[in-house]
Symmetry: C2
Subunit: 514 residues, 2 copies
């Protein structure tokens, strides 16, 4: 019997999570402290499909191909259309941003400004920005204030003010490690008891369902209107609210994701107003997840903050009902043309919150110290990019527009491909980075799925992965109306070859199960 | 009545959290959704003194001084000796690390390798490292695998193997956003019910008490032996365990911080073994917080992992009691000579865990997507620094030793100052970045504190801040034996002037309250 179980050895860079590996000692003589039944069951019951079984299997394929194995696989590359991970799919970082952060990482470069300018193409506004940020944060290796560096919060407030035409106060801005971290802080403070509930759209980004599950609170689902480009339906939201309340659930907040994830929808100002009116009437905290605000292909983005300020000035506020409405709106460097998700940066603005509650949020974020400082600096670049007349502007504009147009083009190509596919219906792409088509599968396919012990959409996505190397996420990972099936795909992957792979697979799948 | 409450306006860069600002509209006409009584009371009751009232007040002083105000303050600078934030206190980042990350931020620099080498002093090993890391992560702006980039996990495993002389498996390594984030993941999975308890040293770093409070679980305190350089006392630990169990608390894990925070102690191998034996016998998960492992001034650091592997091979394991012992050990880029806390990077290694439990930890970390990728790359630099014979080695060695010796020197200077102060007793500095002296205050001072509605140590630290601008943390923020008083100070601040400020203040304080 080996006393020192040889758990390890050079595994190369096999990119599989530890728990997928065969355990090397099986003669388990002693029971451990922790097993699946005695750990936190809220964790056990949380679901997060975006990085679940399919994602893990796709990484396995990718590793096989990278090692020159998998010659018998019916594809030669893996396409990760499951995660909004732009730079993994060849989206180039914006030059201005990365020139700035390269100086922040190595401030010694500022001792050779002429070399930066003459030999490396750094413009003067890059150097100025880096100097300003270094003055604000001192070093990107130092903790900032828990709430984020003051100068960067000022930049965020200025941006919101320019965007909305209403003032914003840097004291209300919290910089965070991506919007996920902001949502986590808000949920942790709001979820007081197992009876607490939060209205969440269906379909939704599973961060919400997972976090509520972890908090042992209720997700109160409301359905988006698929046939109206996934718009909100206030009547349905009110019904969901009343039904939850009738069950004793204490509903405290409502989440809207706009532009939508996974839906790709983009809300009209009147829809935003209706949701705000509902929230004011029912005294709900409004949580506006606006991380895709720059990715709008139809119409223009309008923030919930602007909607609220408009309403506060309007005659609808004659009784002051909107005065103290609590709104938290989130933005992120992860998505859009910035696409810096690996840097984990974002912010949320809180307006209308009670100062004692804000103090608790402040304390909560303090426990995790601060958001990554280089990510905070990228927030600054995002909200205060080069403007016309500044030396870095022409290239910035060109890169930004190039990415935007590329995304729109690929979104449309994918939309058109779906339009040709039997039994697939898709709303036109309006925003964000996703399409979420309905699929009508033949009864035989549904039966085959059942026999394999799977949901029909899981089954379809798994077959797609096995046949084409393309990883997408089944609709069940986001929630969908009973009896309907969907999947979510990003339109980030370059080229169109992979779109034809989907079309080809779909035809074969339908023929096989007809 | 103003409909759009003018909350904002150009606040400059006033670095105060929002809730400290006077609210501009006081005619609160409507009740909000959230107030201090209906939000999560676990958050309300959590305490985190390191960034609490004193820290906020010190930032206020700093802001005043920065704006040229505060001419009547009795000091001209604020010294943040409350937080282990090396680079805020002028510790220079290691050149090799930051040259690498500057390239990772702007890979276009690799198109001008000759300029980097000839004009900017980048050595070939810097460029090689950047290339290797870019190959592993593709872009620092892309999400990595939830568990962290595979190549970097391999580097960590290699490091652990070199350090301990026992194998380590990259599949067991989880990269995280600083050790805090790793602790958070582990606690979230372990804390199953309100009866769950975890043994935590007193004094402790308040991350543990705060996280357990957030999880609504029990902190089971065990006292360190101050008069033995804050060593662990297994007898006392066992008593604390039995007492908790007798109250129905289900104790599942034991935390050790070594080298100690806030104590500055460094454990001997026999103490480590005793704790491991207790954990094995009582079937507790061992959580070893080893983030200060490079800051050891007396003796040598030994990891719990090495201790465990040694025991597994020893005759003490004749009944196999150590075979499946669960150990999680944490390390970080935040501390030591690296000091990159603003980058939020770290790792934990889990050995002996049930694979189903690990799968749940994997899912939990997936929900927050991944640790900051540039922080992951700094983990790689930390665990695989330049070695003898490589071009960047001489400068790395010089910088590293310079920081280490500076820390030791300042630790000793502070220790000697404390030795001269009336009523102050301090253990000799053994490791980490802190000293945690006992203070004996005159009865009159204790009474004055009581009259001010404060703990005596809070009172002392507040008076110190007001008189000298030096911010330290009262012992009550970490826990201390009933009837004793302490404070924690880092020895990071450069120079010795601030040490004399403390000495001067202390004398006056004692004279005043004698």
């Amino acid at each position: 019997m080996t006393r020192s179980p040889s758990l390890s050895g050079p595994m190369g860079s096999l990119p599989l999570p530890g728990f997928m590996q065969k355990r090397l000692f099986s003669e388990t003589p002693k029971v451990r402290s922790l097993d699946i039944n005695n750990i936190n069951q809220n964790v056990v019951h949380a679901q997060y499909a975006v990085r679940g079984e399919l994602a893990i299997k796709s990484e396995q394929y990718r590793a096989q191909l990278a090692k020159g194995e998998g010659k018998d696989l019916p594809f030669d590359s893996v396409i990760s259309a499951n995660i909004g991970n732009p730079q993994q799919l060849d989206q180039k970082p914006l030059t201005f941003f990365r020139q700035v952060t390269s100086i922040l990482e190595n401030p010694q470069l500022l001792e050779s400004e002429q070399v930066l300018k003459d030999s490396l193409g750094y413009k003067s506004d890059v150097i100025d920005r880096a100097k300003r940020l270094l003055k604000d944060v001192k070093s990107v290796g130092a903790y900032s204030q828990s709430q984020g560096a003051p100068g960067i919060r000022q930049s965020v407030a200025d941006f919101i003010e320019r965007r909305d035409g209403y003032p914003s106060d840097p004291a209300n801005i919290y910089l965070c490690a991506g919007a996920s971290s902001g949502v986590n802080a808000l949920m942790n403070v709001i979820c007081a008891t197992p009876q607490t509930g939060i209205l969440v759209p269906i379909p939704q980004y599973p961060l919400y369902s997972a976090t509520l599950r972890l908090m042992n609170a209720h997700m109160v689902p409301y359905y988006l209107k698929e046939d109206s480009n996934w718009a909100t339906d206030v009547g349905g939201m009110r019904e969901a609210l009343k039904e939850a309340q009738s069950k004793g659930i204490d509903v405290r907040a409502v989440v809207v994701i706009n532009p939508g994830n996974p839906t790709g929808g983009s809300l009209k100002p009147e829809d935003i107003n209706s949701v705000l009116e509902l929230a004011a009437e029912e005294k709900l905290v409004m949580i506006a997840d606006e991380v895709y605000q720059t990715n709008v292909f139809e119409g223009e983005f309008q923030s919930f903050k602007k909607g609220l300020r408009d309403l506060q000035k309007s005659e609808k506020n004659s009784d002051g009902r909107f005065d103290n409405m609590e709104l938290a709106s989130l933005h992120s460097i992860s998505k859009g043309m910035v696409g810096e998700c690996g840097h984990r940066g974002g912010y949320y603005e809180m307006v209308g919150f009670d100062s004692e509650v804000v103090a608790q949020i402040y304390k909560f974020v303090s426990i995790m110290l601060c958001a990554p400082v280089i990510g905070q600096c990228l927030v600054d670049c995002m909200v205060k990019p080069p403007v016309e007349g500044e030396p870095s502007y022409p290239l910035y504009r060109e890169e930004y527009d190039g990415i935007f147009n590329g995304l729109r083009k690929r979104a449309n190509a994918l939309y058109e491909a779906f339009a040709q596919m039997e039994g697939v219906e898709c709303q036109s792409p309006q925003g964000s980075m996703y399409l979420f088509p309905t699929i009508h599968l033949p009864e035989k396919a549904v039966k085959a799925a059942k026999e394999a012990g799977k949901n029909a959409d899981d089954f379809y996505c798994l077959e797609l992965l096995d046949a084409t190397g393309i990883c997408i996420v089944p609709g069940s990972g986001f929630g969908q109306k009973e009896g309907t099936l969907h999947f979510r795909t990003t339109f980030l992957a370059p080229g169109t070859d992979w779109v034809s792979r989907i079309v080809g697979f779909h035809k074969k799948f339908m023929d096989k199960h007809r």
